[in-house]
C-alpha cells in the first residue's frame, strides 16, 4: 500500500466524491470507516486518526484507525475511561488539546499519548440529530491548534462516517442505529480474529496482516468483513 507520506494531499472534492461513491454502492462499513480515517490524515495533515463508537452501554470502542499499529490502537482504546474523545462524546462538542504537555484533565491519557510521541489531540463528535454515537479522534506530533477550515472539513468527515454507519436502512428509528452500531462493533472483533489468523499463518505481525486482509478484499472486490468471516470459518485462505 502507498504510504501516506508519499502522497500529495488529494483535493477535497475527490475525497467527498470517493465517499459518496462508496455510500451508494453495497459497501463494507469497516473498510469505509478505515478509508475515511486515512483520508482524514491526508486532508487534515494530521499524524493519525481514529474513530470511536459507543457500544450502546455508553462505552466507546475503536472501530477504525488510519494505522493499525498496536500502540496507536491502545491509545485510542485507553479513552474508554478518560480522554478528549470521551469528553467529546459526552458533551457532543469538539474537544481540542493544542498542547498535551499542559493538559491536566486526563493524566493517564496524556502520559500515554506523550510517550507515543504525540503533542496535540483533537476530538470531533459523530452526531445524528440529538444523539452522539461516537467521536473522530485526530493526533498530531507537533503542538498547535487545527485551523477553522480543517476543523470544518474534519467535522464533515465525521458526519460522513455517521451516515456511512446507517447504511441502507431508514435512519429515523433509534433501534436501527443501535443495531448498526452493534454490528459495526462486532465486525471489528471479527477483523481482529482474522488478523490473528493471518498473522500466524503467514508469520507476520497483526498490523501487516490487516494490510494484506484489506488489499486482498479490495483486489477480489470482496467486503472486508465477508472475507474475514470466510477466513475465520476456514472456508477460504489468503496468500501473502
Amino acid at each position: 500500500m502507498t504510504k501516506v507520506s508519499d502522497m500529495a494531499q488529494p483535493p477535497l472534492s475527490d475525497v467527498f466524491i470517493e465517499m459518496a461513491d462508496t455510500l451508494v454502492d453495497d459497501f463494507d462499513v469497516l473498510d469505509f470507516l478505515h478509508t475515511l480515517t486515512e483520508r482524514c490524515v491526508e486532508l487534515l495533515g494530521v499524524t493519525a486518526a481514529g474513530l470511536m463508537l459507543t457500544d450502546g452501554a455508553g462505552n466507546l470502542q475503536v472501530v477504525a484507525a488510519s494505522s493499525e499499529r498496536t500502540r496507536l490502537l491502545e491509545l485510542f482504546q485507553l479513552q474508554t475511561d478518560e480522554g478528549p474523545c470521551v469528553d467529546c462524546f459526552r458533551t457532543g462538542t469538539a474537544v481540542s488539546v493544542d498542547d498535551l504537555t499542559t493538559a491536566r484533565r486526563w493524566p493517564r491519557f496524556t502520559t500515554a499519548a506523550s510517550q507515543a510521541g504525540f503533542a496535540a489531540v483533537h476530538a470531533l463528535p459523530m452526531k445524528l440529530r440529538t444523539e452522539v454515537i461516537g467521536a473522530l479522534n485526530l493526533f498530531e506530533t507537533e503542538p498547535g491548534a487545527l485551523d477553522q477550515e480543517k476543523l470544518r472539513v474534519g467535522q464533515a468527515l465525521a458526519d460522513i462516517a455517521t451516515v456511512g454507519l446507517l447504511q441502507q436502512r431508514a435512519i429515523h428509528a433509534r433501534d436501527v442505529l443501535t443495531e448498526q452500531l452493534q454490528a459495526a462493533l462486532n465486525s471489528r472483533v471479527l477483523i481482529e480474529q482474522a488478523k490473528g489468523l493471518l498473522a500466524e499463518r503467514l508469520q507476520i505481525d497483526v498490523a501487516q496482516a490487516f494490510t494484506i486482509l484489506r488489499s486482498t478484499a479490495r483486489n477480489h472486490n470482496r467486503k472486508l468483513s465477508d472475507l474475514a468471516q470466510a477466513l475465520v470459518d476456514g472456508t477460504e485462505r489468503v496468500q501473502a
Binding site: 455508553g58 462486532n186 465486525s187 480474529q193 489468523l197 475465520v232
Partner: protein
C-alpha cells in the same frame, strides 16, 4: 452505575436463579424477564449438527415463537444469528411487517408485539441468540438494552466455558472483552491447531482459567508469540487434548 458493577449484579442474579446448580444459559434467560421487563425469553444455540437448537424457553409463548421462527425460517431471531441485534419495537409497524412478512403477523396473532433478538456472538463466532418477547410494543430504554447486552455476553461466556470449572461458582470472563489481543489470539490459535474459532476461544479461556490468569494476559502472550497452543511442552501430535493443558 459503572458497567462492571452492573455486570456483577446481573451475574449474582443468574447464580441466584441457578439455585445451587451450575449457572447455565437458561438461568440467564430467566433473569432477562425481570431485568429487561419482557414477558418471555428463549435461548437458541447453533450447533454443527443443526443451525438452530432451542435450549431454553421461559414459557408456552416463548416455545411457540421459537417454533414459529424455526418453521418460517425468518424473524428477528434468525437475523440476529448472523447480522447483529434485531430490535422490533412494534411488530405491527410497516417496517417490521416488510422485514418479516410471515413472522410479524403470526407473532402478533400469538399476542407478542415486541421482539428483541440479541446475538450470542464474538466476532466471527456465532453461538446462538437470546430472544426477548413482550406483549406491549415499545423500544427498550437504554438501561434495559444495556442489561440485555450484558446478559447476552454472560450467556456467551457460559456457552464457551461449559465444562470448564462448571459449578465452582466463579464468574466467567467477559466474552466480548474489549481487548483486541483476545480476538487476535483466537485467530492465531485457529491457525496453530487447526480448530474452529469457537474451539480456539474455548481453549484460550480454558487455559486462562486453569492457570488462574487473566484472559487478556494469556492472549497477549499468544500474540507476542510467547505462548503457543498446544504449548511446546505438550506433545504436538496431541492437539485434541487441550483442556488439561
Amino acid at each position: 452505575m459503572p458497567i462492571s458493577d452492573r455486570r456483577l449484579q446481573l451475574w449474582d442474579l443468574v447464580v441466584e436463579q441457578a439455585r445451587g446448580s451450575p449457572a447455565a444459559v437458561g438461568h440467564v434467560g430467566a433473569v432477562g424477564i425481570a431485568v429487561v421487563c419482557v414477558d418471555a425469553t428463549a435461548v437458541a444455540v447453533t450447533l454443527a449438527a443443526s443451525p438452530r437448537e432451542v435450549v431454553y424457553t421461559s414459557d408456552q409463548v416463548a416455545e411457540e415463537l421459537e417454533e414459529l421462527t424455526m418453521t418460517l425460517g425468518e424473524g428477528p431471531g434468525v437475523d440476529a444469528l448472523t447480522d447483529g441485534p434485531a430490535l422490533a419495537a412494534d411488530l405491527n409497524d410497516t417496517s417490521c411487517q416488510l422485514r418479516w412478512p410471515m413472522f410479524a403477523p403470526a407473532a402478533v396473532a400469538l399476542g407478542v408485539r415486541a421482539v428483541f433478538a440479541l446475538p450470542l456472538q464474538v466476532g466471527g463466532i456465532h453461538l446462538g441468540v437470546l430472544d426477548l418477547y413482550r406483549s406491549e410494543p415499545g423500544s427498550l430504554d437504554r438501561e434495559q438494552f444495556t442489561d440485555a447486552l450484558l446478559l447476552a455476553d454472560t450467556a456467551c461466556a457460559l456457552l464457551l466455558d461449559a465444562g470448564v470449572g462448571a459449578g465452582d461458582g466463579r464468574r466467567p470472563e467477559e466474552a466480548g472483552l474489549q481487548h483486541p489481543e483476545v480476538h487476535q489470539a483466537t485467530g492465531m490459535i485457529v491457525a496453530q491447531i487447526g480448530v474452529s474459532a469457537a474451539i480456539a476461544l474455548v481453549r484460550l479461556r480454558a487455559y486462562a482459567y486453569a492457570h488462574d490468569q487473566r484472559l487478556r494476559d494469556v492472549a497477549a502472550n499468544v500474540v507476542a508469540r510467547r505462548l503457543r497452543f498446544p504449548p511446546e511442552t505438550r506433545a504436538a501430535t496431541d492437539p485434541g487434548d487441550h483442556h488439561s493443558a
